[in-house]
Symmetry: C2
Subunit: 234 residues, 2 copies
């Protein structure tokens, strides 16, 4: 049976052996939700970069540049970290370059994996189906918040664990814990997440619309993956 | 209102500000269960040490020396990491020195806190009562397993979070997550934990009796704390 394990924050990634495995990077609020949305809406590719400067350099080459730090758009960039921005960007037909506080770091820290997928509630079932159909062990990599555990990414990891149980061995305690947590609150995800630290931070920024969108399941059927440093569709 | 946060593994302790706070160190299987048991049964003090060599040096000075690595007693020591060993040790009236894989490390990494308490299911209500009666913010420090998240310590953290809710603000997402997890499985703690990675490891070592003991709530009413490098009773 294939194994499923969960890395609760990139700060613990050194404890996960990613070699030969599929990594699923999760940053529900909001980086991976944006990426799934953008790819599903027709952006040709999204290049995740760790530094604001790299993002600026790609902007100079004609990319639409998205830069977010601490939940806000960085001055001088085309857009921040809202899925609705990505929908607009998709209409231009241009490539996107993106840097975010936690999500792009989680992608770069997952580089040792054989494949890196981009997951969020908006493509939950597509991720589950993809993982079932392939043969490798899987590590879910929650982006967390500045190195720490967060609720929304862990809940998504738990949703995948619940969906894969029976076909995958839940290999570590984090998989068991997040699965139980997801099953306990899945009928009121939004209500439960409203208590979370990051939701409270984001609420102050008046982006409830983004949060509602990010917590809607299965809006899209795409599975974006990182190939040669670019996010493209599987 | 006082704040409660949870550090899910000592590997994340640098993200917690312990200064001026009470830390509760948790290593349910089995270090803190042993410590609570030993203190409640009458051991005058337990000195937690990080290294096997330090433990050996205290043995030479007349301490009963407990050393565990990877779940097993280290050769040449008086006892390993079973609460029943600690009950026997209590009958001698001697001091104990102890080193374990995860628990003693969690204690040493909590040194910045104002107070360090020793918690386990066997003294759950005593810990909750103590924390309610004092005035400081609290950080629960789960010992985990070799740096990683584990189920039993997180469940205990969640049990404390559930017990303190209303009087404490659940400050971080880990407190919310572990509380929900505990509430979902509290009626069958043993059944749920039997699935955990560490329980499976320990089951191979034939110490089911220790596990059953560790998962029994409120056997003791004591609150051990670390004072000047020794665990003593509050």
């Amino acid at each position: 049976m294939k194994n499923l394990s969960i890395c609760l924050t990139p700060e613990l990634i050194h404890l996960s052996d990613l070699k030969g495995k599929v990594a699923v990077v999760i940053d529900v609020l909001r980086a991976t939700t944006c990426m799934v949305t953008g790819m599903a809406e027709g952006i040709p590719s999204i290049t995740p970069v760790a530094q604001v400067e790299e993002c600026k350099a790609l902007q100079a080459k004609g990319y639409i540049a998205a830069a977010e730090r601490g939940g806000k758009k960085v001055d001088g960039f085309d857009m921040g970290n809202s899925p609705f921005d990505y929908m607009e960007a998709a209409k231009t037909g241009k490539k996107v370059a993106a840097t975010t506080t936690n999500g792009t770091l989680a992608i770069s820290k997952s580089a040792a994996a054989d494949e890196i997928l981009i997951g969020a509630f908006v493509n939950l079932d597509a991720i589950i189906s993809y993982l079932k159909a392939q043969e490798k062990d899987v590590v879910m990599v929650a982006a967390g918040w500045q190195g720490n555990f967060n609720l929304e990414d862990s809940l998504f990891a738990g949703a995948v664990a619940a969906g894969l149980e029976g076909e995958f061995e839940l290999e570590d305690d984090a998989a068991l814990a997040t699965k139980v947590m997801y099953q306990a609150v899945k009928n009121d995800l939004a209500g439960f997440l409203a208590q979370s630290a990051h939701a409270k931070r984001l609420a102050k920024m008046d982006i409830q619309k983004d949060i509602d969108f990010a917590l809607t399941l299965n809006t899209y059927k795409v599975v974006p993956m990182v190939i040669n440093g670019e996010i493209v569709l599987a």
